[in-house]
Symmetry: C2
């Protein structure tokens, strides 16, 4: 096992510590990812004992940020598992932080405590989407910054390139800018401006891509603002569910068979969204994450933190 | 048959006049929609003769706007079928104009010749999407205005309400604003501003909806800016194709069975996008439209023009 461990928020998520601890055990034992759990020590240790995994270290934090604050940019108090975990990363005692807590709370706490990496204008959420040919495309920004400048959007291309290198193992990722036509003059002012800047940045810029390219696997990185990115991500998730439900309703295939396809687009499978551009790596897992997703998020965190490609199956 | 006819551009579309004329014949005979064809008279009459439908009137236009100008805001010359058709609507000799020509060319020509309705800040494209419960939701703006103001976006809610009344026959349509969270403070500046204004307009405003609501049938009208709307529309189309291709590739169902579901999301089925807010009704059909789509577009055009609900199957 390598250097600094991945710090895992034991108190985040809808299922409480039991599911997170199961994920930590899987990450540790199956994938060889060193982890540290942060949360109410007694509760967490009890869970670890169930799995006979008392070798996994625990750092105590008095409080949990309630999931009811989902969406609200809550200020996590210093004694919360969120703040204690981010603090460990800030001090270099953890390589990365993983939480299934409320996205708003996790992001605001991490930005405040871990801070931005030098030269980064604004952090961005990166989410890996499975594509038709079988690979993945990373969508960035998937919702961190609703009103970025063209400079910020262009820089998301650089952040996404790093992600595709480290997580997908693509040596020279191809970057597309999400717009409403393939020509460079197509788009709104923000995206046209970002397109001009992307030509000058150290990325392999393909030019514009459109909505129907999102799952087509034409590029490794799709760059967009956080408003559009969040809507596209949720539209895609909803749309796959709808298409499969319609297929089931039409009696064409059995719902349990269709679940195989649905699972590829489940937020579960993404392994969480990475907040790129901080001085330490942060992964926000979906609140409903089960153990397998938490374990996957820990792998992605380790890859991003250590610059060690790649764990993608 | 009622008052002014629907004017149909015989020269638009990828398949040339033969498919359009077949659509005109179907609209006329099967759905009782009065139509006038605009295009090179000899070619059009030859096609009409094939269907023994010489009773359909033809207005001559020397030229066709080539489909290669797709996307380019081409200025259609006065002798093109586009300009001649729009001119008929402007003079009140046609109730509506339907074209399967290049969207950019059709929209710019119609705005120039037909002009905006009084009080309308900016026209918007409306596209009807089939929803999971079985009804439809109209997405507006699906791509006419990439950089609207909050006032324009709010007004799209009024235009969409009229569409849902006339085309879907919903007496009091529910309007949702596409954003990145359900609370009114969620979104970018543009959408938050539009949300405040929507409360003051004569629409039944539900508040924000999110990406996963696009096909969920929670509202009758989804309001968005033309940049986001165009990307969402194309993402949804691409995504349904991808989910069904994955289902076929996994051997879960036969491609020909899945085609039933795919057809619901085919641009073919939408019956075209309506440009709302002009002094006359305009429907832009997809370039690849076959006869059935053209006929459906003529029905929608008649409904929107005549304020006569409803033809939706």
């Amino acid at each position: 096992m390598s250097a600094a461990p991945v710090v895992l928020d034991a108190m985040g998520g809808d299922h409480g510590p039991s599911e997170i601890v199961r994920g930590a055990v899987a990450a540790w034992r199956t994938h060889g990812v060193p982890v540290v759990l942060v949360g109410r020590e007694r509760e967490v240790r009890e869970e670890l004992e169930r799995h006979d995994a008392t070798e996994i270290p625990v750092v105590h934090a008095d409080e949990a940020v309630p999931m009811s604050e989902r969406g609200a940019p809550a200020t996590a108090g210093a004694s919360t598992s969120l703040a204690v975990g981010c603090e460990l990363v800030r001090r270099g005692e953890g390589a990365a932080f993983v939480s299934a807590g409320s996205t708003g709370a996790v992001v605001s706490c991490a930005v405040r405590l871990i801070g931005r990496a030098e030269g980064v204008l604004r952090p961005a959420l990166a989410v890996a989407l499975p594509t038709l040919p079988g690979g993945s495309t990373v969508l960035v920004d998937a919702g961190a910054t609703a009103d970025p400048t063209p400079e910020m959007v262009a820089q998301f291309g650089v952040l996404g390139t790093t992600y595709a290198r480290l997580v997908f193992g693509v040596p020279d990722p191809l970057v597309g800018l999400l717009s409403i036509g393939s020509e460079p003059d197509k788009g709104n002012r923000l995206i046209r401006g970002a397109g001009r800047l992307l030509h000058e940045l150290p990325v392999r810029f393909h030019g514009n891509v459109e909505g129907h390219d999102v799952l087509a696997g034409r590029v490794d990185v799709i760059v967009t603002d956080g408003f559009t990115g969040n809507i596209v991500l949720k539209s895609v998730e909803g749309c796959v569910r709808t298409a499969l439900s319609m297929t089931a309703a039409a009696g064409i295939a059995a719902p349990e068979d269709l679940a195989v396809v649905a699972r590829r687009y489940d937020p579960e499978t993404h392994g969480g969204a990475a907040l790129l551009g901080l001085r330490g790596t942060l992964i926000v897992a979906h609140g409903s994450s089960g153990a397998a997703t938490i374990a996957r998020a820990c792998q992605v965190a380790r890859d991003l933190a250590g610059g060690r490609p790649r764990t993608t199956p």
